[in-house]
């Protein structure tokens, strides 16, 4: 049986791992390659590296990081953050990334999804969608949740699927950093309306939240950062408890 995936997310700035609460007020949580190895040994199913730096050397720094991660770890990983062209993706895949995730660039230029899928295949193109509720409606946001767009979550998600993306990483900006649980209602709707895997993100605080997002939210994978970085939840314990709830996991 296909297992539900647990995915630690490492936010990267200038080659270091950081994680903000509600995407502001960043704290340093270590060396990315070292953290990647630790998570891999602890039983993480996959890793996501999200580069939030905005320097001119960014592209090279990120490619170097990808190379060093690929050298060391034997589980798949996704790289995202500021990717906006076929060339960007090519460099990252060549250096050993398994998948890339695109976010703002897809909203600004949806054709990019088609172009990437045509060149690299659906299996390595993840589209990340950040959304929050505005007057009861889920609206897609950019720039870490600061800038609203005119796109509605479910319509955009459907379009992303039709353009060929292999997976959707949905972050609830209302939940991100709150530790109040994932946005399971919206996730369940996404999972029912779409036929590609959905990764839940934003709101993980305790073990029950993961169980809920798999059972009620029908998510295929769950992503979290700070609860893992600050050792509030150990991946091994999390998986044992999920298995007790009859959720298929890899142990």
């Amino acid at each position: 049986m296909l297992a539900k995936r647990i995915i630690p997310c490492l936010d990267i700035k200038d080659g270091r791992t950081v994680k903000g609460v509600n995407f502001v007020d960043l704290r340093d949580a270590g060396d990315p390659v070292e953290l990647a190895e630790i998570y891999s040994k602890e039983g993480a199913d996959e890793l996501v590296f999200l580069d939030i730096s905005a320097t001119e050397q960014k592209r090279k720094t990120l490619a170097d990081l990808v190379y060093h991660v690929a050298e060391k770890i034997n589980i798949p990983f996704t790289v995202g953050g500021g990717i906006s062209s076929v060339e960007d993706v090519d460099i990252l895949l060549q250096n050993g990334a398994d998948k890339v995730s695109i976010n703002s660039s897809a909203v600004k230029n949806p054709q990019l999804i088609n172009d990437l899928v045509a060149k690299f295949g659906s299996q390595c193109i993840v589209v990340a969608i950040d959304a929050k509720q505005v007057d009861g409606e889920w609206i897609v946001h950019l720039v870490g949740g600061k800038v609203p767009t005119d796109r509605k979550l479910f319509e955009w998600a459907k379009e992303v699927e039709e353009r060929g993306a292999g997976e959707i990483l949905f972050t609830s900006m209302d939940r991100d950093g709150t530790k109040d649980g994932f946005a399971d209602e919206a996730l369940a709707k996404l999972s029912t309306e779409l036929n590609i895997p959905i990764i839940a993100s934003g709101g993980a605080g305790k073990v029950e939240h993961f169980a809920d997002t798999f059972l009620k939210g029908k998510a295929d994978a769950a992503l979290a950062a700070s609860v893992f970085h600050f050792k509030e939840i150990a991946i091994g314990d999390l998986k044992s408890k999920l298995r007790e709830s009859n959720i298929p996991v890899r142990i």
Binding site: A3, A70, I75, L93, G96, D98, G121, G166, I196
Partner: protein
């Protein structure tokens, strides 16, 4: 031991090279027929779309070379699929090593299948020391149905071939290079084949 990873411009092969290196060997990436023929082990990777990958194999004449190799050959993911008779993806013919046609998953499951699934019915030296129902990592939208050459199965809405073997040719639908310790063991077993 000389290990060659066939480089025909199909996807992420850096990871396979690293996985071989983690086992203490080195591997070269090559599309040179002589180098491939002389290798002790050949790895045939592949990520992407079947018909365009086959087009590249035709252009580089690897289409004729690969089915005639006599040393152990391991096809990974799309590599395995291309070793079959045909693929429904882009409706292309394959290398015809495995006598089975690759088809798309039904709409009853999410496609692509992405993640860790279990392998069972293991019957090959390739799985020495691997226990039934261990998890391996897969990413794919198409699959090879169960056939005479199936040496491992997995289930995703349907039972399908997780691995195939005919003579010196091996194919795995999963990514051993990304399948943690289990994957490393399978790669090591491939290198240890007599």
């Amino acid at each position: 031991m000389k290990i060659v990873i066939i480089n025909y411009g199909a996807g992420n092969i850096q990871s396979i090279k690293f996985a071989i290196e983690r086992l203490g060997y080195s591997a070269i990436l090559s599309d040179d027929p002589n180098e491939i023929k002389e290798a002790d082990r050949v790895i045939f990777p592949g990520v992407g779309e079947a018909s365009s990958a086959m087009k590249k194999l035709r252009e580089t004449r690897l289409q004729d070379l690969i089915p005639n190799l006599s040393q152990p050959v391991l096809g990974i993911c799309l590599g395995m699929q291309l070793m079959c008779n045909r693929s429904e993806e882009g409706n292309t013919s394959g290398l015809g090593i495995f006598d089975v046609d690759v088809v798309r998953f039904s709409k009853n499951v999410k496609v692509p299948q992405i993640g860790w699934n279990q392998i069972q019915g293991l019957k090959s030296e390739l799985f020495r020391g691997v226990t039934e129902k261990e998890h391996i990592y897969l990413v794919h939208s198409y699959y090879a149905p169960i056939c005479n050459e199936t040496i491992a199965t997995s289930e995703y809405g349907v039972d399908y071939s997780a691995a195939l073997q005919k003579d010196n040719f091996y194919g795995v639908q999963f990514h051993p290079e990304k399948s943690s310790e289990v994957g490393a063991k399978i790669l090591q077993n491939f290198l240890d084949l007599k």
